[in-house]
């Protein structure tokens, strides 16, 4: 077990070093988040749509975009110079490799969220007080599921044969539920409803996470090994 985590952490640390070494990345993350908000505000007709109504959508687009970016990136770095073969040669369990890649992706997505949420609060004058811990909780839970599925999919996508690439499309439906759940929960919380009202959503997200992390652990080997 200690070995499992040593490998997982090694992989995650490697990816984070590849991505986050330069201060530029953090700065970029902040600028990026701010820009998303600006872009949205612009596309909105202020007379018709109140900023607050956009808020959940904005949050989730930012999260989705961050994830797509992170996941696109995740396995292109492994393809150049066949670095993925380097991972496959490791005497480590495939689960450990999966957790490693997923952790790195999660870290990035969480970073983006960490800068987006406060900015969104400022921009939209969100009643975070009422939302309280619910919002971060939802973000965290849904990010996990998101990243778990995404890591699996992008690993498939790195084997660039068409058949394999169709899989992501087939699996698209799997990405939708957590989004709906969290978007729904978010808008309720921002509407000032109590946390108790979204417990159902939260439970759903947790189950989803468990299911797909497990699936990832089991299937990753099948994806990267012949």
């Amino acid at each position: 077990m200690g070995e499992f985590f040593r490998v997982a952490l090694a992989v995650a640390a490697k990816d984070l070093r590849l991505e986050l070494r330069t201060r530029a990345t953090i700065l970029s993350a902040v600028i990026f988040a701010a820009l998303v908000l600006v872009v949205f505000n612009f596309s909105r007709d202020p007379t018709a749509v109140a900023a607050i109504d956009l808020a959940p959508g904005v949050l989730w687009v930012t999260v989705a975009f961050a994830s797509v970016v992170a996941l696109n990136r995740a396995f292109t770095v492994e393809r150049e110079h066949a670095a993925l073969d380097g991972l496959r040669l490791a005497p480590a369990s495939r689960g450990a490799l999966f957790v490693g890649k997923a952790l790195a992706n999660l870290a990035f997505v969480l970073l983006i969220e960490a800068v987006t949420v406060p900015l969104a609060v400022l921009f939209f004058e969100l009643p975070v007080a009422t939302a309280g811990w619910g919002l971060p909780l939802i973000l965290f839970l849904s990010s996990i599921g998101f990243v778990a599925v995404g890591t699996l999919l992008s690993a498939m996508a790195v084997k660039t044969r068409f058949g394999e690439l169709m899989l992501p499309v087939l699996l698209l439906p799997f990405l939708v539920p957590p989004l709906i759940a969290s978007a729904g929960a978010t808008s309720r919380l921002l509407a000032g409803r109590p946390l108790s009202e979204v417990v159902g959503w939260l439970r759903f997200l947790t189950v989803y996470d468990l299911v797909f992390v497990t699936l990832g652990l089991l299937l990753f080997g099948a994806v990267i090994d012949e």
Partner: protein, 233 residues
Amino acid sequence: MPSPEAPLLEVRGLVRRYGRTTVLGGIDLSLGAGEALLILGPNGAGKSTLLRTLAGLARPDGGSVRLAGAPVAESRRRVGYLAHDSLLYDELTVEENLRFAARLQGPVDDGAIARALATGELTPQRDRLVRHLSRGQVQRTALVRALLHGPDLLLLDEPYTGLDSASAASLTAFLQGCIARGRTVILVGHHVDEGWEVVTRVAALARGKWILETPRPASPLETTTRYREALRG
């Protein structure tokens, strides 16, 4: 093919296909400790495919590969594989790459990394991004990466590529050391004289089959002529 010692590597009727084309058509091979096999063969003969399969990166479509009696997947730590690609990350430094490769194998001790850098004559470049290395420096890094964890079976696909004469010499010396310590080496190359001092056996592959398999002939020249004949006949 017979082998003086208890075979470390045992390959039986290995078949590998890519779609319709059969790249390896039933390869037998058995190598013991302290043996070094040089594999020759024209481009596209299947040498790299064979090594990939032995390294456990490609699944055999037929036949079996056993390392000390077990499937390769169960004894990855005993295998060191140098591929055509470097398996390195362009955006990491030489040291970071080696450190990562080491972590994948087991707990890392800094002394080992430092020594590895020294044997690869890479100490001056340790903090340089791999993207900024010259080809020979990349090749040396890839070699060090492959051999870092002291494997028993070394699978080296054209290891001398891009090395200057000095580095080539020290690679040969290093491999002699391995053989002396009872390791097993498989060497793929196009120049018989590269690593000649190490080699104990020579084989040639063509169209996915052995066309030559012999203990090391007396001289490189003789080897070349026999290889030529085998290709023709």
